[in-house]
């Protein structure tokens, strides 16, 4: 009898185990609580809220060649090959010294994140309660991708010229998260079309005021549209979108409220900041290595507060501390001051001198010691344009914008610039409209991606 009972007990225990275990769910449990297969709008928003991925390491290698700063010979000899290549506009074969282009790696990784979001949310049904969140996610992903495509185009594609844009080599336009796809280089026209169309689609989806400082917003999308059109030298559209942007947010920071004695005195998420992102942090950008171009520094007047807010003495030279990130990382985002300058330039180019100067003065007034600023005046549109462009270089230094300005202004003989520098006893020169205004692709990308190299 006893044995029967025990037999029965074993049978029950066995049966319980087997039944439990045969449930399909048992092996579907998550191996780590933090892991998730994204399925909801919130999952995708979380991916976009990864600031270190989505808002930092924006392309900036080209900035080493824009002439706004120098480095010591010791630094020149010790920095990595790609930085040396960019700093001295080296030949394609020497440019990367076998290294990969960090800008491409990080920018395309961020684009992949945006594409994962854009691919993923396609299968999410929208209901009225989630429309705002859904739109924010979709609009943001389009915005991020557009900004990165734009930055990469400044680095690796020829300046936009409507006559050749249909044949000039553009970017490989990754618009899917499938890493197995092979994507060839597009044309410059296709690249700009992609950027503009995505941004136009994003504008209505984005909120006027973002819930969180790092997220894209509608003014930021307008601002970026203005920036892109300016690069295309489409000044009427650049004016339109700079204005659209400033209609939504035209606040400016009063530099009198900042303390020049603290390091990196410009606060993060200040009222001018429309979209917050940081440039790829190359070694030479560190304040102990970056030597501000003396003529640039000297161009600031004594009562111009930017002279002490932007710059910090470093040995016998000056370094830059004016990042809108209030930190050592250089700011590469979109801010209202840029929009004032965009609009002013476009007004001037459209012949509206008074509107142009009004924008310029509105901006500069906040930059000078209270009570010392005297409004600038312009004799004609050319004078206005010249003054605006001078102030543009000063106001927007070290944000990665100078390179594109050089590329576009060099097409106008009036504003052509030749950059010359001496490093380790050797003189390097970047003449206007040089093919060296387009950085080469690295060897890896040519080999593995099968992409066509830029002529230099």
């Amino acid at each position: 009898m006893k044995t029967l009972k025990i037999n029965g007990l074993i049978a029950v225990v066995l049966a319980t185990i087997l039944l439990n275990a045969c449930k399909k769910d048992w092996l579907n449990a998550k191996p780590n609580k933090a892991l998730v297969v994204p399925t909801t709008v919130a999952d995708y928003q979380a991916l976009l809220d990864n600031s270190e991925q989505m808002n930092t390491n924006y392309p900036s290698l080209y900035m080493l060649g824009d002439g706004d700063f120098e480095i010591s010979d010791a630094d020149f000899l010790s920095i990595s090959a790609d930085q040396r290549g960019a700093y001295s506009w080296a030949d394609t074969k020497d440019f990367y010294g076998g290294l990969q282009n960090g800008d491409w790696i990080t920018a395309y990784a961020t684009i992949l994140n945006a594409n994962v979001v854009l691919d993923g949310i396609k299968s999410i049904a929208i209901d009225p309660s989630s429309t705002v969140a859904y739109n924010n996610v979709k609009g943001s992903a389009l915005f991020y991708r557009s900004l990165l495509f734009y930055d990469l185009a400044q680095e690796s594609c020829k300046p936009y010229a409507s006559s050749t844009a249909n044949t000039d080599l553009g970017l490989p336009l990754r618009t899917s998260a499938d890493v197995n796809l092979t994507v060839e280089r597009s044309t410059v026209q296709q690249t700009y079309d992609q950027i503009i169309n995505d941004l136009l689609a994003a504008v209505p989806m984005l909120p006027v005021k973002p819930a969180v400082g790092m997220r894209p917003s509608r003014p930021a999308a307008f601002g970026l549209l203005s920036r892109v059109y300016l690069a295309q030298q489409n000044y009427s559209k650049a004016l339109l979108y700079a204005d659209s942007c400033l209609q939504l947010n035209n606040s400016l920071m009063d530099f009198n409220s900042l303390s020049a004695s603290t390091m990196n005195p410009i606060p993060r998420f200040n009222q001018e900041d429309l979209f917050h992102c940081m440039l790829n942090n190359y070694y030479v950008f560190y304040y102990t290595d970056l030597i501000v171009d003396p003529t640039l520094y000297q161009s600031f007047a004594a009562n111009d507060l930017r002279k002490v807010i932007y710059f910090i003495p470093e040995g016998n030279n000056f370094s830059f501390q004016g990042s809108y990130d209030s930190d050592a990382l250089l700011y590469g985002g979109i801010a209202t001051d840029e929009m004032y300058l965009n609009r002013a330039e476009c007004y001037a180019r459209a012949g509206n001198t008074s509107a142009a100067m009004a924008d310029l003065n509105a901006l500069l007034k906040t930059r000078w010691l209270t009570g010392t600023y005297v409004d600038l005046t312009a004799a004609n549109t050319d004078d206005a344009l010249t003054k605006i462009l001078i102030e543009r270089r000063k106001e927007l230094c070290y944000r990665g914008l100078r390179w594109t300005d050089l590329r576009r202004l060099n097409t106008d003989p009036q504003f052509q610039t030749t950059i010359t520098r001496i490093a380790n006893g050797q003189t390097y020169t970047l003449p206007p409209n040089s093919p060296n205004y387009v950085l080469p692709l690295d060897d890896y990308e040519i080999k593995v991606g099968g992409l066509q190299q830029n002529p230099r």
């Binding site: 892991l35 998730v36 994204p38 270190e52 010294g97 282009n101 961020t110 992949l112 991606g449």
Partner: protein, 1181 residues
């Protein structure tokens, strides 16, 4: 009525079943059953002609030739008694009468059954016995060579009268004529002698019992297999050496005494624990450590917690036939640990073990990545004159540390101190070696104390084992200590005749006290730094900021910002408490003979609680408070990090549940035997962790102050940061569901075939369902050639062949099949939760598979003088995780997936020789293993600079197809330039100093491949001597056939850490200084600015590659054992006193640089394992 323990031979199956069902009820049911078997008509006559037939054979013949059953008790009756049978068609009764003559047995025939029983003594015999006068028998017991056997047992058969031989092997015992003496000794065949009235002095020589010694059982964790029937490759450590070694953990005792197993040194894994490889590497990227099984189930806690005193045996499963029963976790081999249990019908046995181990202080000066003070000062002067320190000296943003020498030089330049004073001070500095003070104030002789006590025993109803252990270890670093208490109770109850219940409870508590002051300090000192004055009073050194800044800070309201290493030593309360509780139970029911079912369950809970309390007395806390202080007009006006201590808490809990249901089947008939098992298993390990940091903590009141973890505060002297809340929480869950089966079939004890199969499923995340499960299988065979009739080699009585083939698996849960995101808290900019792409989808993901072929020969010479085995194996790993490359514009540059393959082969030789077997016994065991691996597919092409940096330490893996996973590669060396002393390399076959080009663009096939970075040949030689109670074990370990990169100077690294501290290699002193030096040295000249590429090239050039081969005297154990047999008044059964020395020294090394290849300096702090000596006592009573 008889009391019968039945043993029936060749009865109809139904009959067997019935008998078994009524086992407890004896005679009545037996007879009832017997009635049913009455079949008539077969003649009761039989024919049997056989000299020296055993009774068993006679009974068998009766069963076969007549239809009578024979019932007899194997317990009461010796079936091996010999009779002379010469029966031709003889009647049954005649056969029985003749055969049972002189055996003391009689028989009764009931119906068709013959019952054999003991003959009742006749009344006459009883009287004789009562009146008998005992006679005294004496004699001497020796082995066949005449060596006395001490402690041999002499028993009068069937009585409890017993004695043991003395030190001369002599004995005396009182007996009756007709008594039978049994003389037995472990490892020898027992002998029986019949006593008569005129028995002379007995000279008894016992023969060694070869088969008895070979009766080794190997355990797979699912079953115990006698080694004779094992087809797979199993290894066990040399038992005596394993037992003799003194260690706080189980696994390190295997080193050098276990065939096929090697301990890797210098790897990142070996820095924090043991890094074990069984038979070479089987994976590139996935887990490379063997599965560790303790008492049937994988162990999920810290294996170092298991008290080695509780371990009965360790078995290594090396090939597929042995290990594939563990399926996807067996890819790197399996280590099966079995703990001690009680024994049936054993009286209470108490064992104890106590030892003290003392370690030498580590030799801080061993490491060559340190420069003496005088050369270091020279270097600093040189750099100072180059302006190297100028930016640091003028840095008022974060006030970096300035060395005392540079401060002096700067003061001299500024004119605030005279040149003579500087020279005098520098001369004083040059005489200092900071290691003297570090060694004196931070180190002590480590001491391990070990105490263990166990009770074991058993009746026929229950067996038990209970043990308690206490370990107290003081580390060589002061204020670091560890305590462990282990309690272990194992019980088996035989509830019913065929029902067995096991219950085990194992509790381990650990308490670890840590202090990191030394690790912090050693990164801050210069070769001439002083941390105490001549009287031993603590001196401050700079930490984080230079002292000119921190000294002035106090005047501005900051807390004391100075750092006194010796005041910080012991000031932090950093304790980790571990609790590991393991409960196991098993129920085994034998349905019918040969068929049993069992259910095993194990629950384990491992908990670790870390508490770090840093009071305001510690530099860490004061520094943090100062950095976050609110400053206005240069004065501190408030605190963002509140005053008080900082308490960091961490808690990790792992719970594992394992359930296994298994059916076992054993059947033997005629010459066949089958052993089979099949079962189903579920295992789950879940872990949870959380942590937090409390600020302004007052340990007396347990109060704290909230901080603001989201705001970016300005820091002093510069920068911005948030305050770390330390909050983290998370959890993981591993599940495996398995079905398994295993069968072994043996024919005539000569041929054995085995097979096993297993299917594993796991919660492998995001993998296609059909790939969640992986079937793995193995087959094996063994041929005992020596048992064949044709086998005639009398000098080689043991000769067996084995072969096996099968698959093991490996899995890495960190990669997933669909795109998965990993969630994190507190984005650094927004504090929002955020996620990142943990894996981009790879739907083809599957498990790694290792196919292993094993071929083996076992041999034993006459009298077992030489025994051993040779095993050869081939491995082929497929679907290994590897990388595939993608263009940058895909958003990833590589993806981990099943893109790689490997192969490997090698052999394990194990030979034991009994050199002397007299009074002095000497035996030698040589273990020699060969293991190679070769990557056959790896998609990502490597850069030369990656390949040369991979030194086998696993910090990065850069495999080259056609070579081992870890190899030593270097740039071709062209000597030093005659004029400049710059290193010269080769570019496209021509000498070149274009380092950047050499480093980046040398094709991989033009790099010099020296050889593997991990030993290809390894093993140990064990010599054991014993004489009387003394025994001596000497173990020599060796590792051969590998290379390492010798540490040398890298000038550029001095730039990397502007303060440089200790980390400049001594090769600096051998540098090229003038033309001509290039004939004497290979160390490049000092020339500033340092070239990254030049330094990198030199460091990774061929001139810095050394052979790793070494032979070391690993350990020696000397013991003396007293046993009661030799010392009658001893209160113990036996008592052993031992002295044990470990890490004794290197006997031979291939390199000439004084480098211990197991401690290759990586960074300035690596030191070899210090020598240790243990003394102790163990015994039983």
């Amino acid at each position: 009525m008889y009391k019968i323990y039945t043993r029936t031979v060749c009865s109809p199956p139904g009959y067997i079943k019935k008998i078994l069902l009524v086992m407890k009820i004896t005679t009545f049911f037996l007879f009832a059953a017997l009635m049913q078997v009455s079949a008539a008509g077969i003649a009761q006559r039989l024919t049997l002609v056989q000299k020296d037939a055993t009774l068993k054979q006679v009974f068998n013949a009766i069963n076969k030739q007549t239809n009578y059953n024979i019932v007899w008790s194997a317990n009461d009756i010796n079936g091996d008694q010999k009779v002379n049978a010469d029966f031709r068609d003889a009647p049954l009764t005649e056969v029985l009468n003749k055969c049972l003559e002189n055996t003391g047995l009689t028989y009764a025939i009931v119906d068709k059954t013959v019952v054999i029983k003991q003959a009742e003594p006749s009344i006459l015999d009883k009287i004789k016995a009562a009146l008998a006068i005992p006679i005294t028998i004496s004699g001497k017991v020796t082995d066949t060579l005449g060596t006395p056997l001490v402690g041999a047992t002499v028993t009068i058969k069937g009585t409890s009268k017993t004695t043991v031989t003395n030190v001369k092997g002599e004995f005396t015992i009182n007996a009756q004529p007709g008594d039978v003496l049994t003389i037995s000794y472990i490892g020898f065949k027992p002998l029986e002698i019949k006593v008569s009235n005129n028995t002379p002095y007995l000279n008894i020589a016992l023969h060694q019992d070869v088969s008895g010694l070979k009766e080794v059982v190997v355990s797979t964790g699912y079953q115990d297999i006698p080694q004779e029937r094992a087809t797979g490759s199993f290894a066990q450590p040399i038992k005596e050496m394993y037992d003799d070694r003194v260690s706080t953990d189980v696994l390190s005792k295997l080193n050098g005494i276990t065939s096929g197993l090697v301990f890797n040194a210098n790897t990142s894994a070996s820095q924090t624990g043991l890094d074990i490889t069984i038979r070479g590497r089987s994976t590139i990227l996935a887990n490379d450590q063997p599965l560790i099984v303790v008492d049937n189930f994988p162990y999920s806690g810290d294996i170092n917690n298991i008290n080695p005193n509780d371990v009965e045996s360790v078995t290594i499963l090396k090939d597929a036939a042995s290990a594939s029963i563990w399926g996807v976790r067996a890819g790197n081999g399996v280590i099966v640990i079995t703990t001690k249990k009680g024994k049936i019908n054993q009286p209470l046995k108490i064992g104890f073990n106590s030892s003290v181990t003392i370690f030498a202080k580590p030799d801080l000066n061993y490491n060559s990545n340190q420069l003496d003070a005088s050369s270091f000062i020279y270097l600093e002067k040189y750099l100072f004159n180059q302006g190297f320190y100028d930016s640091n000296l003028s840095n008022t943003y974060n006030y970096p540390i300035i060395s005392p020498v540079v401060q002096l030089l700067a003061a001299q330049r500024a004119g605030t101190i005279s040149g003579d004073d500087v020279t005098a001070q520098l001369n004083a500095f040059a005489k200092i070696n900071v290691n003297d003070q570090l060694s004196k104030y931070f180190f002590q002789n480590a001491v391990n104390q070990q105490y263990a006590l166990n009770f074991s025993g058993g009746s026929d109803k229950n067996v038990y084992y209970f043990s308690a252990g206490y370990d107290k270890d003081l580390a060589s670093l002061k204020d670091n200590a560890n305590q462990r208490i282990t309690i272990n109770a194992q019980n088996t109850f035989y509830l019913l005749k065929n029902l067995e219940l096991n219950i085990g409870l194992n509790a381990i508590q650990t308490n670890t006290k840590s202090d990191n002051t030394y690790t912090q300090t050693r990164g801050l000192v210069f070769p001439y730094s002083q941390i105490a004055d001549a009287n031993g009073n603590p001196l401050p050194i700079a930490n984080v900021y230079n002292q000119s800044y921190t000294r002035n800070a106090t005047a501005n309201g900051f807390l004391d910002w100075s750092y006194y290493p010796l005041k910080d030593l012991g000031a932090t309360d950093n304790t980790t408490k571990g609790m590991d509780v393991r409960f196991s139970t098993g129920l085994k029911y034998t349905f019918i003979k040969g068929l049993s079912g069992e259910v095993k369950y194990q629950y384990e809970n491992s908990n670790l609680q870390n508490r770090v309390f840093e009071s305001q007395q510690t530099f860490y806390t004061r520094n943090l408070i100062n950095e976050y202080s609110v400053v206005s007009n240069g004065q501190v006006i408030g605190y963002n990090v509140p005053l008080g201590g900082i308490l960091s808490l961490g808690n990790t809990n792992a719970v594992s549940n394992n359930v296994r249901a298994q059916l076992n089947y054993n059947l033997s008939w005629k010459d066949n035997s089958i052993t089979a098992l099949a079962g189903y298993e579920l295992s789950q390990v879940s872990t949870d962790f959380n942590s937090s940091v409390l600020y302004g903590y007052n340990d007396n009141n347990a109060t704290f102050t909230n901080i603001n973890p989201t705001t970016y505060f300005p820091l002093n002297p510069g920068g911005y940061s948030t305050i770390n809340s330390g909050l983290a929480v998370g959890g993981t869950l591993d599940r495996i569901r398995s079905s398994f089966a295993n069968v072994a079939y043996t024919y005539k004890d000569r041929y054995t075939l085995t097979g096993s199969a297993r299917i594993d499923g796991s919660n492998y995340f995001g993998v296609a369902t059909q790939q969640k499960s992986l079937p793995l299988w193995s087959v094996g065979g063994k041929w005992a050639v020596d048992k064949e009739a044709f086998y005639k080699l009398s000098w080689l009585p043991v000769f067996d062949l084995r072969a096996s083939f099968g698959y093991n698996g490996n899995l890495d849960r960190s990669v997933t099949g669909v795109t998965t995101l990993f969630n994190q808290s507190n984005d650094p900019y927004t504090n929002l939760p955020f996620s990142f792409i943990s894996n981009i989808g790879n739907p083809d993901l599957r498990w790694e598979k290792t196919g292993i072929t094993n071929l083996a020969v076992d041999f034993g010479s006459k009298n077992n003088i030489i025994t051993g085995s040779f095993e050869y194996y081939l491995k082929k790993e497929t679907d290994l995780l590897g990388y595939k490359i993608f263009p940058e514009n895909a958003g990833i540059t590589s993806l981990e997936g099943n893109y790689s393959d490997m192969t490997g082969h090698g052999f394990d030789i194990s030979v034991t020789s009994r050199n002397l077997n007299g009074g002095l016994k000497w035996s030698t065991t040589v273990l020699f293993s060969h293991a190679t691996d070769k990557v056959t597919r790896f998609d990502v092409p490597q850069y030369p600079s990656q390949v040369v940096t991979e030194d086998g330490n696993q910090t990065g893996i850069a495999p080259v197809v056609g070579k081992p996973v870890f190899g030593i590669y270097s740039y071709q060396w062209g000597g030093l330039d005659h004029a400049t002393g710059n290193p010269v390399g080769y570019l496209n076959g021509a000498k070149s100093e274009d380092y950047s080009n050499i480093n980046q663009n040398t094709p991989i096939n033009q790099l010099v491949y020296s050889g593997p970075a991990r030993p290809v040949y390894f093993g140990g030689v064990n010599n054991r001597f014993s004489y009387k109670g003394f025994s001596l074990d000497v173990q020599v370990n060796y590792k051969l056939g590998y290379y390492f990169r010798r540490p040398t100077i890298n000038y550029y690294q001095i730039t990397g850490t502007p303060t440089a501290f200790l980390s400049v290699n001594r090769d600096f002193n051998k540098r090229w200084m003038q033309p001509g030096d290039e004939t004497k040295t290979n160390v490049p000249s000092l020339s500033y600015p340092f070239s990254y590429d030049g330094s990198f090239f030199y460091q990774h050039s061929l001139v810095n590659v050394d052979k790793g081969d070494n032979i070391r005297l690993q350990d020696i154990n000397l013991s003396y054992t007293l046993s009661r047999s030799s010392l009658q008044r001893l209160p113990f059964n036996n008592l052993q006193i031992f002295i044990y020395a470990n890490n004794i020294g290197i006997l031979w090394r291939a390199n000439h640089d004084g480098i211990d290849p197991d401690a290759i300096p990586a960074g300035p702090y690596t030191t070899p394992n210090p020598r240790s000596v243990a003394i102790g006592l163990k015994g039983t009573f």
